[in-house]
Amino acid sequence: MDYETVIGLEVHAQLLTASKMFCSCPNQFGDKPNTNICPVCTGQPGVLPVTNKKAVELAIKTALALNCTVEPSSVFARKHYFYPDLPKNLQISQYELPLATKGHLEIEVDGVKRKIGITRVHLEEDAGKLVHQGAARIMGADSSLVDYNRTGTPLMEIVSEPDLRSPREAAVYTETLANLLRYLAVTDAKMEEGSLRCDANISLRPKGEAKFGTKTEVKNINSFRAIEKALLAEEKRHEEVLSEGGKITQETRFFDDVTETTTGMRGKEYAHDYRYFPEPDLVPVEPPRTWVAEIKATIGELPWQRKARFVGLSVAGEAAQLLVNDKPLADFLDAAVKLGAKAPTVANWLIGDITAYCKENKKELAGLNFPPAELAELLTLIEKGTLSNKIAKEVLFTALQTGKPVKEIVAASGMTQISDEGELLKIAQEVVKSNPKQVEQYKGGKEAVMMFLVGQMMKATKGRANPEAATRLLKQALG
């Protein structure tokens, strides 16, 4: 039987605020365990939460960019479950009345555009971290240690509709969303560091069937790469179970990055009953329209708008997409264009040699001392004919490696093109003289031989000849 895959995603993003969600501890962690804690975020008896305004602002900003309706009234609720990383044994989240609902995100998968529904955007607090002892993983650990530094970090949860139809779409959705969040500067969206987390609900149904199949929830997806892998593994498992006439059990499964399989929790699993109820220590959030409008005004150019603008600057669609997906590259392009460089040329260099260099050397463009002005300079030198393309690449490589200014590199190396036509003509005459056979072929009508002759000129000048001038002068030397 043919099956259709149905996927919905819950993405959690840590928000870039100065303080935590409900207390004034700094929103940072990775320091010594339990140093970034206070009575409130460790759930001491008697403490009360007070909502961080900036977190609400960032979530509203996101909601607006996702075309959601910001709800006139939203309410925090308590979600109960006992776990040592949750000091109160409850998480303050939003339930019946979230901050925003009903939006969508457009994604493009292999050239096909799809609108993915956004069910809701809401705010909650993060849990702490557990360090398991005695074995690497929770399953075998004899005991665990709890660090509350991360507890109370503002989290924004973005829930999609079950609109995704393949693991690949799920991966593209998450990357598109993460990129949007980076553009909005609401989170740094690093999956490997846990500032963006993704839980996936997946089910299969016979093609053509309207009713959803039984779903499982896949957790522990710790990188963008892992999303597709985890869901492919779970999709395959569902398909095997179903095609053998078996039934899927609704459960939470953990993805193992090494074996690339998912496993269910061992041991008794208590049925979840979160016993949500309105958080009595907090009052409703009813964002005034003027505030929402102010927040809306802070939304800058969004990735898809930027792509359209790049295409308008004659950057090829695919190149524009690649650049927009990597915000620092796109920012680089804008800066270089502002300095007079031509967008398509900048795009080529960025996507080509510069990206290749960064990948090879495992470096970020921002970490190199190569500001947009340097690329603009390089491109001007090419345009003026001072540098050949080939030499320019060498100059670029040196600049990326040493961090020295382009001008300095060019001056020191004497790698500028030979612009003295008298000198070039002499070399052309030399080439003609020492390649009589090819000259004969050319004169016999084999025009392609010209390429060989130009190559010889380049060889003789160590690439410093302008190819156009070389061709012209060779023709002159040939009579």
Partner: protein, 483 residues
């Protein structure tokens, strides 16, 4: 010295007739002489108190802005967090808990210069009406030690009545200030919800809890309210409403004030002597110029059921944090995390707390939320509407604070429903978030009777004025227990 009120002692302190160190020492002497019998305190903080008294004396001498509470020895209910001083909530769970911070109210009282004598006994986690639910020992009623002092602020009410503290703090979720005030013959005020910051009050039922004073007379209540009222950035439910000088509200004048007697609280469930005392108080107010009318609040009959769904639900949530991981008791018996949770909570909580956790967990659980918790929130609206309508006709409402005078120890401990029903007059007030005060208005077989005055939100001034007028024209506040 120990028999005097705070405002009387303030005169003596500023006129250098006594020092705060002398006063504090005198109160510890009084405690030594009475507390074995009353058992009002769970922790005494003598060293700290004497330092505070010394600082207060300096402040009084140098004239560095002394307040009416500077140098006044007070007691703090043991569910207020006090930095570095045990805060047990009279529970085994928190037997050795040392809070890392002070409750906002404690900070305010300290800043005002009050001297903290110690922490008072209570029903465990403020759940109870008799102080018998303390994990340590029951507190006894100073008027009759066979009887309970009421609860949950039973320790605070008893030490004020025993004159072993000048005044005390309490917390009131369903009557926990007013009911023990009535049973012990002192004044107790539950302010409007949001009037006083709850930050640092160990939560029982967050939407109902409110902090207030227990004092010897109405003037002292106004003085403490002056210190503790006001908005707090740390409590999102504390209200930014101006804080008047409550003492200047104390005028001997009730002319034209319309006081509504609540019909439902003068019916068959109320002890005749209590009924008679409250009617007598109403007559007295009428004689002083108030207009007395009778009002009906029909939804009152549902208040107890409503309360015993909402309060346990919130409590079951608030008490989830006591799990042996971060603070408090941890069971030594465990083979894994979940057995540690079970055993810690089995050993750490007493029967009433467990009962309410069970009830509240049930009311919130899947399949029962709508029928119980949500239903209770809707009935809460009906009760609130009844009050709103009554306040269209009256300025204040009056009722007995309790249906009976203090009962004997053990009389109701086997029957939780009977115990719950004794809060019939106080519970509706918490559900509606209103201010209410209990003050002595009579005596039955040597036990005090309390009159409850209920006002609309933020009507503390009017409540205090009417209470003050009644007090000035009667002598109940001048009688005290003999120990």
């Amino acid at each position: 010295m120990h028999t005097k009120t705070a405002h009387e002692l303030h005169e003596l302190l500023v006129n250098k007739k006594i020092s705060s160190v002398e006063l504090t020492t005198a109160l510890y002497d009084r405690i030594a002489g009475t507390d074995d019998k009353i058992k009002g305190y769970v922790t005494l903080t003598r060293d700290e108190a004497l330092k505070q008294a010394q600082a207060a004396d300096e402040r009084l001498t140098t004239g560095a802005n002394p307040t009416p509470l500077t140098g006044i020895p007070i007691a703090i209910k043991d569910n207020f967090c006090t930095r570095g001083i045990k805060t047990t909530c009279s529970s085994k769970m928190l037997e050795n808990y040392l809070p890392p911070y002070d409750a906002t109210v404690v900070t305010k009282l300290k800043e005002a210069g009050a001297v903290i004598l110690g922490k008072t006994n209570m029903d465990e986690f403020a759940m109870g009406s008799s102080c018998e639910n303390s994990a340590f020992f029951p507190t006894r009623n100073p008027w009759n030690r066979e009887c309970v002092p009421g609860g949950s602020s039973g320790g605070s009410a008893a030490v004020v009545a025993a004159r072993s503290a000048v005044m005390a703090t309490g917390s009131d979720t369903g009557g926990s200030i007013r009911q023990p005030a009535a049973f012990c013959g002192v004044v107790g005020l539950k302010p409007t919800y949001g009037r006083v910051s709850r930050y640092g009050l160990v939560a029982f039922a967050s939407s109902l809890d409110q902090i207030g004073p227990l004092t010897k007379d109405v003037t002292d209540t106004a003085l403490m309210l002056n210190v503790i009222a006001g908005h707090d950035d740390r409590d999102a439910t504390s209200i930014e409403h101006p804080v008047p000088d409550y003492r200047s509200a104390l005028k001997n004048d009730v002319k034209k004030v319309r006081v509504g007697l609540i019909r439902e609280l003068l019916g068959s469930g109320i002890e005749p002597t209590v009924k008679a005392a409250v009617k007598g108080a109403a007559d007295q107010l009428a004689a002083l110029g108030a207009e007395i009318v009778e009002v009906s609040l029909p939804s009152f009959e549902h208040a107890i059921a409503t309360y015993y769904l909402i309060a346990p639900a919130e409590a079951s949530s608030n008490l989830a944090r006591y799990d042996g991981v971060k603070f408090g008791h941890r069971s030594q018996e465990h083979r894994d995390l979940i057995s540690m949770y079970y055993n810690t909570r089995r050993e750490g909580f007493g029967a009433e707390v467990k009962r309410r956790i069970m009830l509240g967990t049930y009311a919130l659980s899947a399949g029962y939320y709508d029928a119980f918790y949500l239903k209770a929130l809707k009935v809460r609206t009906l009760i609130k509407r009844d009050f709103d309508q009554a306040f269209e006709r009256c300025d204040l409402l009056a009722s007995p604070t309790t249906p009976t005078v203090a009962f004997k120890l053990g009389a109701k401990s086997a029957d939780p429903v009977a115990m719950y029903l004794s809060d019939i007059a106080t519970i509706p007030v918490n559900l509606a978030g209103l201010p209410a005060l209990s003050l002595p208005c009579g005596n039955s077989s040597g036990l005090p009777i309390g009159l409850q005055l209920i006002g609309p939100a933020f009507a503390e001034e009017l409540i205090l004025r009417v209470a003050y007028t009644y007090e000035q024209n009667t002598a109940w506040h001048q009688t005290s227990a003999v120990i």
